[in-house]
């Protein structure tokens, strides 16, 4: 019988990243409008550390994903929906990689090196450059809002499968949910 559920590792990584990305997005929105204060400097550093962690996690996820084929989509799903699902997943991965990279580059261009947990300095790939820093800030936030939109679509699709199609798509990613057929 074919596997109907993602591996425990894939499920754990998915939900861990879901929480981390929601926290990163909210923190990013909140911190950028704060007046300068020690608290703001701390939040920026925490955001960067969490962002580097998210980047490492998505690499780990990708490696796991390449080595472990996900369960098949329901046979009853129309072909265009399968294509759309696949395309959306690719875009999510692409953004989960591009967003931390854009943040790292933005930080360098603004003249703030990223020092992971205040201990491990990441190399600055870009020289300090005010205009480039502002451009990368725009890129970073645009990519984030794109990701937020795609995540909403991702959740909506999962709920549609569960509540309307009543298939096992959502259950594949939830260890405690079973769909008896």
């Amino acid at each position: 019988m074919p596997e109907t559920r993602y591996t425990h590792t894939a499920i754990a990584l998915h939900w861990l990243m879901a929480l981390l990305l929601i926290a990163l997005f909210s923190l990013g929105l909140y911190m950028s409008d704060l007046p300068v204060s020690p608290q703001k400097l701390k939040l920026y550093s925490w955001h960067k550390w969490a962002g580097v962690s998210a980047f490492l996690l998505v690499l780990l996820r990708l490696a796991w994903r390449i080595g472990h084929r996900p369960p098949d989509l329901p046979a009853a799903m129309p072909g265009w929906q399968k294509t759309a699902a696949q395309g959306l997943h690719h875009l999510l991965y692409l953004l989960m990689i591009a967003i931390p990279l854009s943040g790292w580059l933005m930080s360098s261009a603004k003249g703030f090196q990223t020092v992971y947990f205040g201990i491990i300095p990441l190399p600055d790939l870009l020289q300090k450059n005010k205009e480039l820093g502002e451009l990368l800030e725009l890129v970073h936030s645009s990519l984030n809002f794109t990701l937020a939109g795609l995540v909403v679509a991702h959740i909506a699709a999962a709920l549609k499968h569960h509540l309307l199609d009543r298939d096992e798509v959502l259950a594949r990613m939830l260890p405690f949910l079973t769909r008896n057929r």
Binding site: P38, L41, K110, G111, F112, Q113
Partner: protein, 190 residues
């Protein structure tokens, strides 16, 4: 900068008496830099001062007779970003409205051997004075004298960044200051 000019004049006269041939005394502002590295959350941030005046009298043959004075325009700070520049001139930090200038006045120069020397004197920032010693090197370059030195300044000794900012886990107490001062030979007095 009138007191500075008077001092410069005094120094020139004092040193002229010694008739040192290779005395360096004309500060070259466009060739000199005063930079610093502060640390925020473990991240080193480069900064610099755009405007400062130095009066120096240094004869490598008679280093112990040397003297130096720095007048630093604190509002000319580049602390690494616009946010930081706006913040650091304010009351908790440098309070430039009330204390626009930081000064350093030397009291002694000691040769340490080779091209190494030690400078001692009094540094005044934000109305607070502290004794300071800093090692430096001297070399001649294209007819000019070049002084390079660095020291660690503890910002809280001068109440720079007090109140909420006195928490040194966010912005470190230690600020590394680097100076690169170029001076042309002093005008020869007849």
């Amino acid at each position: 900068m009138t007191p500075f000019r008077i001092l410069l004049g005094t120094l020139a006269v004092a040193v002229a008496g010694s008739a040192g041939a290779a005395e360096y005394g004309q500060f070259q502002a466009d060739k000199s830099t005063l930079t610093f590295v502060s640390k925020q959350m473990g991240v080193p941030i480069d900064g610099r001062f755009r405007k400062f005046a130095v009066s120096v009298a240094f004869d490598p043959a008679r280093p112990t007779a040397a003297s130096a004075r720095l007048d630093l325009d604190l509002a000319s700070i580049d602390a690494g970003s616009k946010d930081a520049d706006d913040e650091v001139v304010g009351k908790p930090w440098l309070h430039v409205k009330v204390f626009p200038t930081a000064t350093f006045v030397s009291s002694a120069v000691r040769p340490l051997g080779g091209d190494k020397y030690e400078l001692a004197g009094k540094l005044t920032i934000k109305g607070k004075s502290q004794d300071l010693t800093a090692p430096f090197t001297f070399r001649q370059d294209g007819g000019n004298g070049v002084f390079d030195g660095a020291f660690i300044l503890k910002r809280l000794d001068f109440a720079v960044g007090d109140g909420v900012w006195s928490d040194v886990s966010t912005v470190a107490n230690e600020v590394q200051i680097k100076f690169h001062i170029v001076a042309a030979p002093a005008a020869v007095r007849k």
